[in-house]
Every structure is written in structure tokens, then in C-alpha cells.
Amino acid sequence: MRRSPAQKALAVVAHRSVILAFTAFAIFPFYWMLITAFKQNSDLYVGASNTAHNPFIFNQAPTLIHLRILFQNTLFPTWLFNTLWVGAIVVIITLVLAVPAAYSLARLTGRWGEHLSIGIFLTYLVPSTLLFIPFSRLVALLGLQNQLGALVLIYPTFTVPFCTWLLMGFFKTLPKEVEESAMVDGCSRFGAIARVVLPLAMPGLLTVVIFALTLTIQEFVYSLTFISSVERMTVSVGVPVALVRGDVYYWGSLMAACLITSVPLAVIYNFFLDRFIAGFTVGAIK
């Protein structure tokens, strides 16, 4: 299987082209958001039939006007606040429910716990598009229509199964001797969990906090269904629903909002990618 230098060079070129092409495909919309967010309107709304006007570059000086409009004349800051507020409470609820459940499945239940854990994971697959109709009944019954409380109630339906699964895998990687030796030293099981296991599980807990938060920020369907007042919307719904106006062009501010929300999430995801993959591969790789 010796290869000539020409073949090697060809393989390198092919490899580079594949990487380049897919990277370009992945980031093009973000590049487009970036350039749109800082372009003057007269540079933005030229019309694509004018081939002399290159839309990929700044034909006029960049401007901060769209950012200023976004933060001063729209409810974007309110939506950001709403999103983080809902996210914080959902994270707390998720931790309260998922940490004990995950520990129990990892340590205190035998064979049936393993089956149950797969069952819990499968509930993550029940899609929001199947549940939003019964939830709309439930939300109406509880008088939570158009309240952020509706989202706080419902978002754990997808964060709890996913985070329980992730954390269970994490607890299983901790050696059992850790809490056993603490219990020999006179700790109760509870004391051992609080004093020994949880501090060791901090990286796992942090992962869960991050994922519960990002899943909440990304959620669209429930938020769209249950929140109708503009000032109570979350970012993922407020921007596409309340910033898009039929005949008034807001594309500069819109794209700025998309970019500002997306980039921090991308950075966070990148840090926690490996754990995230481990959560999905369901033991299919060792």
C-alpha cells in the first residue's frame, strides 16, 4: 500500500477541501448574521438582482445602529432576562429531581434500575410536538396561560430525563469504595453522599447545569404555544415572533440578536461536547 508523492498530495488536497467546504457550510449563516448586523441599511437593502453590488463585504462603513436599536428600542433585554430567569429555576428543579434519581439508579437499585433508567431516557424522545396539545389543557386548568410559570412547570419534562441519564453515567464512574469507606468511618449513606460523593461529582453536576440551561434557552415550541404577551417572551420566541414585522425591515437588529444569543451557547457546547456525546451514545461505545 505504498503511495506515490502525487497521490499523497492529492489526498491532502482532498482532505483540506472536504474540511473547508463543510466549515464554510456550517458557518455561512453566522457570517451572514455578523455582516448583516453591522451593515448600514442602504448597504443592506440593495436587492440581489444587482450583480455589481457585492453583498459579502461592507460597501459602506460598518454601523452600530442595529445593536443600539436592539438594546434600546426593543424588548430584547427583557427577553434575555426572562430566558435566564426561567433557565435558573428550571436548573434548580432539574438538579433537585435528577441528582437523587441518578444516584439511586447508579448505586441503590439493582437490575430493575437499569431497565428503569433506559425507560427514563426514552421519555426524552417523547417530542414536544406530541405533548403541546395536552399541555395546553393542563396549563389552562392551572391558570398558567401566558405565564413564565407554565414554562418552569413544563421544561423539566425534557431536562430531567436527559440529565438523570447523564448524571447516572457519571456516578457509575466514581468508585464505590469512596462512599463505602466514608460509611465505615461512621457516616450514614446520606452523609456519605453529601460529604464525599457530591463534591467528587462536581464536574458532572456542572455539565447538568449547563445542559439544562442550554436546552431551556433553545426551546421554541412550548414557549411559542404558552406565552402570548410580548413582554413575557423568551429570546427564542421573542426574536422571531415579535421582532419580525411584515413591512418594516429589522434584519440588522434581528441578525444581531441571533448572533449575540448563539455564539455564547456555541462556546459553552464546545467545552462540554464529550460529556454530551456520552449522554447520547447509550453505551454503544465503550
Binding site: P29, P134, T157, T164, G283
Partner: protein
């Protein structure tokens, strides 16, 4: 004396046998809150969805009566529904084929070491990390009827002559093309990183051994890579299929199912009928059509996880 200990070696204990009754009780106690929550807010609403599909309930009131299978009968004879059903399958199938082909290509390319790999990984991951509604909004602007940059490029290279124009979101076929493009763009990072994890888990020695035995690239692909990748490939396909089949974000934000309800998928149609139209029973019955495929996917996933456990 040497042979005696072998006879008294205890059988290996299973995890369940070593648990004390107290631990078991604590185990149930710790599990209870999560299980109660999942039962109340996933299992019961799920059953309620089935029940509502058999009623004529509407968004305005809590009164309803039982109408049996009437909703389903109305739905399956409706051309808009049949179109949405077909679209859902086309959308899922085409996106998944493209995602798998591209994902495998990209994962293999990322397996090699090269300068700037971490940066490339970050950039390629962005479409998956961005909130789907906001990312789709970016595409909405790219597909804009007047300012579409795609049309500008097609004009520049001469594909679109004078007077020719693509209305990406105003045409049933181009609309589906746009919807599939956005979905492939969105799911590709997810499948790529999962496939990459699978490829990385194949030990290098396996390939080296095959090289020594004189295996060609085809033999290696079909006898090593593909069989060893099967579990992970299944996982990527199952999740990808579920995420695509049940998605309404892309359709809702790009075309709203238009023009003339030609680009709806089941999920977006259920939303239009059940929430916007207020016909809860009808919306629920449309959403129920998502169920058979989901059940199949869940069973396949259980079998995959069990096989992984055994091996």
C-alpha cells in the same frame, strides 16, 4: 490443602444481591420525586393526547364530547394532511440520507490530525449549539425573496438569467429544498460528533492487523469499519430520525407550511390546527400520527442498548 479454596470460592455477587434492604428503601425514596414528576407531566399528558384525539374539544372551552374515531376519519381524507404526511417522510428520509453521507465524510476528515482542528470543530458545531429558532431566522434572511444572497450568487455565475428568479419560500418544491437544507445544516454537527466518537473508539491496532493481513480499503471498510461502527451508526440514525420526524421549528419559521399548505409536516400542521386553529381534538389526532414511527424507533433503540450491554 491447595485444592480446597477453589471449592469454597463464592459465586460472584450481582450488584442487586449486595444491596441491603435499607439501601433499597433509600433507593426508591430518592427515585420517587423524579418518577412522580415524569409520570404526571409526561406519561399522563401523553395519555391525555390519545384521549383528546377522540374528542371534539376546542381551545375556547373545557367542555367536550366523545366522538370516537371521527377526527381520524376527517383527517385521513384531508388532502392537506396527506400532503403533510408525505412531506414528513420525504423530509425525514432525504435529510437523514444526506446527514449520514455528509456526516461520515466529515467525521473521517476530522479523524486525521491537522492544524486548526480545534477551531474547525468549534465552527462545525455552531449550527447545533445555536437555538434552532434563531438559526432558522438567519436562513430566512438568506432565502429572502428580494435580497437572497443565494440568488445573487446564482446571478453572478450566470445560472439565473435576466428576469429569472427563485422564490425560495414561495414555491412548494424550493420550499422543501430550503427546509431540508436548513435541517441538514442543523443536524450535521450532531451526527458528525457521534460518528466521530464511534470512529475514534476503533483501536488503531485493528487497522494495523488488517494491513498486515493484506486487507484492501474495501475489505477494511466492509469487514472492520462498518461492522464496528454499526451500534454507533444506529444511535446517530435513530436520534437523527426522531429529531427530524417530530420537528416543527424549521417549517414553522421558514414557510409556515405555505404556500397553500404545501410544505407542512405533521408537527407543524398539528400546531396550526390544534393551537392556532383551536381545534384541539383534530390537532391531537394529527400529532398521534407521529407515534407509530416513534414506537419503532424506541424499540430499535432498546435493542441497540441491550446488544451493547451484552457485547
Amino acid at each position: 490443602m491447595d485444592t480446597v479454596p477453589a471449592l469454597t470460592t463464592p459465586a460472584p455477587l450481582k450488584a442487586a444481591d449486595t444491596l441491603s434492604a435499607r439501601d433499597r428503601r433509600l433507593g426508591k425514596l430518592l427515585l420517587a420525586p423524579a418518577l412522580v414528576y415524569i409520570f404526571l407531566l409526561v406519561a399522563l399528558p401523553f395519555l391525555l393526547a390519545l384521549f383528546l384525539s377522540l374528542t371534539n374539544s376546542s381551545a375556547g372551552s373545557l367542555d367536550f364530547s366523545f366522538v370516537g374515531l371521527q377526527n381520524f376519519k376527517n383527517v385521513v381524507t384531508n388532502p392537506v394532511f396527506l400532503r403533510a404526511l408525505r412531506n414528513t417522510f420525504v423530509f425525514t428520509f432525504v435529510s437523514q440520507v444526506l446527514v449520514m453521507v455528509f456526516g461520515n465524510t466529515l467525521a473521517r476528515a476530522l479523524l486525521k490530525n491537522f492544524r486548526g482542528k480545534l477551531l474547525v470543530r468549534f465552527l462545525i458545531l455552531m449550527p447545533w449549539a445555536a437555538p434552532i429558532s434563531l438559526a432558522t431566522l438567519g436562513w430566512l434572511w438568506i432565502f429572502d425573496s428580494t435580497f437572497s444572497v443565494i440568488n445573487w450568487m446564482l446571478k453572478v455565475v450566470g445560472w439565473l438569467g435576466p428576469g429569472q428568479w427563485y422564490y425560495w419560500l414561495g414555491d412548494p418544491t424550493l420550499g422543501m429544498v430550503a427546509i431540508i437544507t436548513v435541517h441538514v445544516w442543523r443536524l450535521l454537527p450532531f451526527s458528525t460528533v457521534i460518528l466521530l466518537a464511534g470512529l475514534t473508539s476503533i483501536p488503531a491496532e485493528v487497522h494495523e492487523a488488517a494491513d498486515i493481513d493484506g486487507a484492501g480499503p474495501f475489505a477494511k471498510a466492509f469487514q472492520i469499519t462498518i461492522p464496528m461502527m454499526m451500534p454507533i451508526l444506529t444511535v446517530a440514525i435513530l436520534f437523527g430520525t426522531v429529531f427530524t420526524f417530530t420537528d416543527m421549528n424549521v417549517v414553522y419559521l421558514l414557510t409556515r407550511g405555505g404556500p397553500y399548505n404545501s410544505t407542512h409536516v405533521l408537527a407543524s400542521l398539528a400546531y396550526q390546527e390544534g393551537v392556532l386553529g383551536g381545534d384541539v381534538g383534530r390537532g391531537a389526532s394529527i400529532a398521534i400520527f407521529l407515534l407509530p414511527l416513534l414506537v419503532v424507533m424506541a424499540i430499535l433503540m432498546l435493542r441497540t442498548s441491550r446488544r451493547a450491554e451484552v457485547s
